[in-house]
């Protein structure tokens, strides 16, 4: 009897111990679950665009989000594809100039210029010196206008609404200057093969110079207002960082590349037009984060102002079109490539001629296309709230991405 009782008690103790152990285990698990590190989150896919106010155009992307962190970005483009390269094959060389306006519609002058420059290279047309100076002046004004638009929207995305009013005021002055020179405010069709479409009106250069002198003073205040803002700095610094090696591997050009410390500027590395005659520096920053990509634009505005001042000083009198410009441009058989530094980077046109009135093939190397390709490399691993800011600092224009 006694032995049996002890056996039963043993068994009881055993089961009780087991229950205790199980309970302990359960408690242990619960304890672990209470720690915030071990919160299990599931990856979520968020669709962005194609119609989204922060997308700077028609851009669609799938963001794979884990908690607050974006783990993967799948960009999708092509929503604004208008077959410009195919259209070019069915137009004469002069007829295609207005189409280039619609490429990068925030800096149309540069697109006119790059295309026209390549055709001139192909056909061997010499551009008069005055026309080259006018191109430089309107080109740099265009760069300033584009960067002002960029700075205002970069502020707007971070919640700074008031800088927009000031930047747009200055941009309006540039658009007024453009309106006086060619009648249009956004799509100019001003630079034509051989020179420019019309000479500058009387007093235009003085007006441009007074604008330059005005912006030189006011841009300092605007820098304080936006770039010196504590919240803006906190929001932008360190986000969307990219190193020079990755930036080169991803093919970035223009301000996004120069913000990582690579001083690649077509105006210096492959000088065109009359740029070698001007004294200016290539703005370079070294952090490669969102803040540097904003600041570098402000610095480029200051350099552009320097160039315009010198150009207005040096501009000669004379013709704006060459003496003998053929009515129908018929370049000899061959291939040519011309590129300029647009507001967004290295903008190039590659044209193949078969000796007829129309290009056999025209290829556009758009800097926005190349910059947008680097967007996942920049934004993956950052906070979800920073992704739209990073996209904004690339300043893509989708007319040029999709062409």
């Amino acid at each position: 009897m006694g032995q049996e009782m002890s056996k039963i008690e043993e068994a009881k103790n055993l089961t009780q111990n087991q229950i205790l152990e199980e309970l302990e285990e359960q408690l242990r698990v619960e304890e672990i679950e209470e720690q915030p590190d071990a919160i299990k989150t599931e990856e979520m896919v968020i669709n962005f665009g194609p119609q989204h106010p922060s997308a700077h155009g028609v851009f669609r992307a799938l963001f794979h989000v884990n908690g607050e962190i974006v783990t993967k970005i799948e960009p999708m483009i092509g929503y604004l594809h208008r077959c410009f390269e195919k259209i070019a094959e069915n137009r004469t060389y002069a007829q295609f100039v207005p189409f280039t306006d619609r490429m990068d519609y925030v800096s149309s002058m540069h697109n006119n210029w790059a295309y026209v420059m390549t055709v001139e290279k192909l056909a061997g047309i010499q551009v008069p010196e005055r026309a080259e100076y006018i191109r430089v002046i309107v080109g740099e004004l265009q760069r300033i206008a584009s960067h002002l638009l960029f700075l205002s929207t970069a502020g707007l995305e971070a919640g700074a609404v008031s800088p927009l009013q000031y930047y747009f005021d200055e941009r309006e002055r540039i658009l007024n200057l453009f309106e006086k020179v060619c009648g249009a405010r956004l799509t100019y069709n001003y630079i034509k093969i051989g020179g420019v479409r019309a000479d500058l009106p009387d007093g235009w250069l003085e007006e441009a110079l007074s604008f330059v002198n005005r912006l030189k003073k006011t841009i300092v205040d605007y820098d304080k207002l936006l770039l010196g803002n504590y919240i803006f700095k906190k929001r932008m610094k360190g986000a969307g960082k990219i190193s020079a090696e990755i930036a080169l591997a991803q093919g970035l050009t223009g301000p996004p590349l120069r913000s990582t410390g690579v001083a690649y500027d077509v105006r210096k590395s492959d000088p065109y037009s009359v740029y070698p005659r001007f004294d200016f520096e290539v703005a370079v920053r070294f952090q490669g984060d969102n803040y540097d990509r904003v600041v570098i634009r402000s610095e480029e505005i200051k350099q552009s102002l320097r160039i315009i001042e010198q150009a207005i000083e040096q501009i000669p009198d004379g013709r704006i079109l060459p003496m003998s410009l053929p009515k129908d441009i018929k370049p000899p058989v061959g291939e040519a490539f011309g590129h300029i530094e647009s507001s967004r980077g290295d903008l190039g046109y590659f044209i193949v001629s078969d000796g007829s009135l129309k290009p056999y093939r025209l290829k556009i190397q758009g800097p926005s296309f190349a910059n947008l390709q680097g967007f996942p490399a920049m934004a993956e691993g950052s906070y979800f709230a920073d992704v739209v800011l990073t996209l904004g600092t690339l300043d893509p224009v989708f007319g040029e991405v999709d062409r």
Partner: protein, 165 residues
């Protein structure tokens, strides 16, 4: 840096020549393209700017623009090759320059050139169910606004006329 100034170390003793419109160019067979690209990368060409197709009756000629931020001279180079239309396949350069990714997708989309070894060979501009490659000269489409006589005439006739008929 391999032999700067004295001709580059590329297979088959191919010389870099200077052309009027393009600058420095290097023409290779399509079998040698990947090797040549590796050699150019070693020689300091660290940026892939674009690849473009040009459609000819029998072949599609490919033009690659490469750029160097490291070199002192010959910063820009065009790498040329061609593929027959019957077998439009060429090695992808995406393993060498990751930025070639979208550019090769674009060339595939618009010209139908397939890039062997590309990580993501899909269309980029056109929808996935699109048929044909629009930048080929023989591409036909019911929706094309440009009429046949418009394409073939040397003088642009019909421009400004009613095209709806």
């Amino acid at each position: 840096m391999s032999g700067e100034g004295h001709g580059e170390r590329v297979p088959g003793q191919i010389k870099i020549v200077q052309e009027a419109g393009l600058g420095y160019t290097l023409t290779v067979k399509r079998e040698d393209l990947f090797k040549a690209a590796l050699g150019l990368k070693e020689a300091g060409f660290d940026m892939f700017m674009f690849v473009s197709g040009v459609d000819y009756p029998d072949t599609i000629k490919l033009r690659y623009r490469l750029y160097s931020t490291k070199r002192k001279n010959k910063l820009n180079i065009f790498l040329k090759t061609e593929v027959p239309k019957s077998d439009p396949v060429v090695d992808s350069l995406t393993p060498i320059w990751p930025s070639a990714n979208w550019h090769e997708r674009e060339t595939y989309d618009l010209f139908g050139v397939k890039f062997r070894g590309h990580p993501d060979m899909r269309r980029i501009f056109m929808p996935d169910d699109f048929v044909g490659h629009p930048l080929r000269k023989d591409y036909k489409d019911d929706h094309m606004l440009v009429k046949e006589e418009f394409i073939q005439g040397t003088v642009i006739k019909g421009y400004g006329e009613d095209n709806s008929k």
